[in-house]
Amino acid sequence: MNAEQARAVIERVLSRIAPEVDLLAVDPTESLTDQLAINSMDQLNLVLGVHEETGVDIPERDYPKLASVEGFVTYLVARGA
């Protein structure tokens, strides 16, 4: 999976979890938590959604690496999803 595909997956899952979010307004380098008021349930659903689409099972200890969209993309590419 390349960066573009990873980004598409994340955006697709995000828009399912928080349909009201305008993805164009999300700064990909900033923390999602700060921008979208993502709580622990959202975080879990995000990881679940990405797992469903890519098969990657992300352990909790890696959550800090997923803070921003770009961080998430880098992580997924590195995991070779």
Binding site: I17, A18, P19, E20, T33, A37, N39, S40, M41, D42, L44, N45, V47, L48, H51, D57, I58, P59, E60, R61
Partner: protein, 385 residues
């Protein structure tokens, strides 16, 4: 109250029959999505009330034109006509559920030629089998209940509609909370709970679990409340007709705030029969359904106690307002690191402030304290939850 799980606007799945008739809801002001009808309509005549029930008209939505704003027979007939007035259009025997569905879905009963009930009467399934006027967005109940709970893909989505929905929801929450504060003599208690054990246990457990089976600390809080509610029965039940009616099981309301503003408290029914894992998946499911706009009838039964959990985005403590006719509301702030002294030693621990708002008619501070202490005790032994 700015609870837990920030969730965007949602819509009640209108294909599911409401568990209570609109009139019953109006009488009981059930603290769920249906609490939208908290305003007490001014109806003096039993005849009018009966008529409204027959036509499935929600009296709280009817503007009265009678003396002093009282709702008259004429007002109800008008409202019925506006809602499609299915009753006016068939002479065939019709089940109450069919009537309600017809009103909700905007189906004209007169166009159903063969009822499949006894003696050709029209039953719910006949109504459901009819093509709806607008098969994508079932209209009328949306107008009744969910005008303020629209899904993200609402075709009517616009700044104006969103603003109107938010205002509507705000008004309804306002009415219910005002009623609560008017009628319920609240008392408030709080206690700080060391969450080290609970959080450590969740972390260790999740490390060995597949992503689909992971827990959130919120699930432990809910489970602790459920057990404590059973142990301190004067916190669990309803205040009806000037007396407390304890509940035998726990239907757990979970207050969820909408991103667009407003509050909904779907219910995890029979929470006392669910294990921790089952509570977690019920919580995930119900929040998911709020989000995708597919709340089911089971989500709307009336809770016996409600929890509000500010979550990791919230303040450190919440002293909530009880949903009438319930008699207690448990609240949790966000979990924060705090200095904590124990056995003469000072350390840094994750702490949550647990609170209870309780109805002084049903219990006193001693019961409320016991309730909080039981929650604390259970959270210190998470493996037993």
């Amino acid at each position: 109250m700015t609870p837990a799980l920030a969730v965007p606007t949602a819509v009640v799945d209108l294909l599911v029959p409401a568990p209570l008739s609109a009139a019953a809801v109006a009488d009981r002001a059930v603290p769920t999505a249906l609490v939208v009808v908290a305003r007490q309509p001014l109806v003096t005549s039993p005849l009018v009330r009966h008529l409204a029930e027959q036509h499935d008209i929600d009296l709280t939505r009817v503007a009265g034109t009678g003396t002093g704003g009282a709702i008259t027979r004429h007002d109800v007939e008008n409202a019925s006509r506006l809602a499609g007035g299915p009753l006016h259009r068939t002479n065939r025997p019709t089940s109450p559920r069919a009537r309600r569905l017809a009103t909700q879905l905007g189906v004209d009963l007169a166009r159903i030629e063969h009822g499949s009930g006894p003696k050709g009467s029209i039953i719910g399934a006949d109504v459901l089998a009819r093509p709806r006027p607008d098969s994508k967005t079932p209209r009328p109940l949306q107008e009744v209940f969910a005008s303020d709970l629209s899904p993200g893909r609402d075709p009517l989505r616009s700044a104006d509609a969103a603003t109107a929905r938010t205002a509507n929801m705000r008004r309804r929450t306002a009415a219910l909370m005002a009623r609560s504060k008017r009628e319920i003599p609240h008392y408030f208690l709080s206690t700080e709970i060391d969450m080290s054990e609970a959080i450590g246990w969740v972390r260790d457990t999740n490390a060995t679990r597949f992503v689909t089976e992971r827990l959130l600390a919120a699930a432990l809080l809910l489970r602790a409340v459920v057990i404590a509610a059973l142990e301190v029965p004067e916190t669990n039940g309803h205040w009806v007709d000037d007396e407390f009616r304890p509940a035998s099981g726990v239907h757990l309301g979970v207050a969820v705030s909408m991103r667009g503003g407003g509050l909904i408290a779907p219910c995890i029914a029979d929470a006392h029969t669910r294990s921790l894992d089952e509570l977690m998946s019920a919580l995930r499911d119900v929040v998911g359904r709020v989000r995708t706009g597919r709340l089911r009838s089971g989500d709307l039964v009336d809770p016996t106690i409600t929890v509000t959990n500010l979550g990791d985005q919230g303040a450190t403590a919440v002293f909530g307002v009880i949903y009438p006719p319930q008699v207690a509301l448990a609240g949790f702030g966000k979990i924060v690191e705090r200095p904590w002294a124990e056995h003469g030693l000072l350390g840094v621990r994750p702490i949550v402030v647990a609170t209870v708002s309780a109805d002084h008619r049903a219990s006193d501070g001693q019961s409320g304290s016991r309730f909080l202490n039981r929650i604390d005790t259970h959270l210190q032994a998470p493996e037993k939850l």
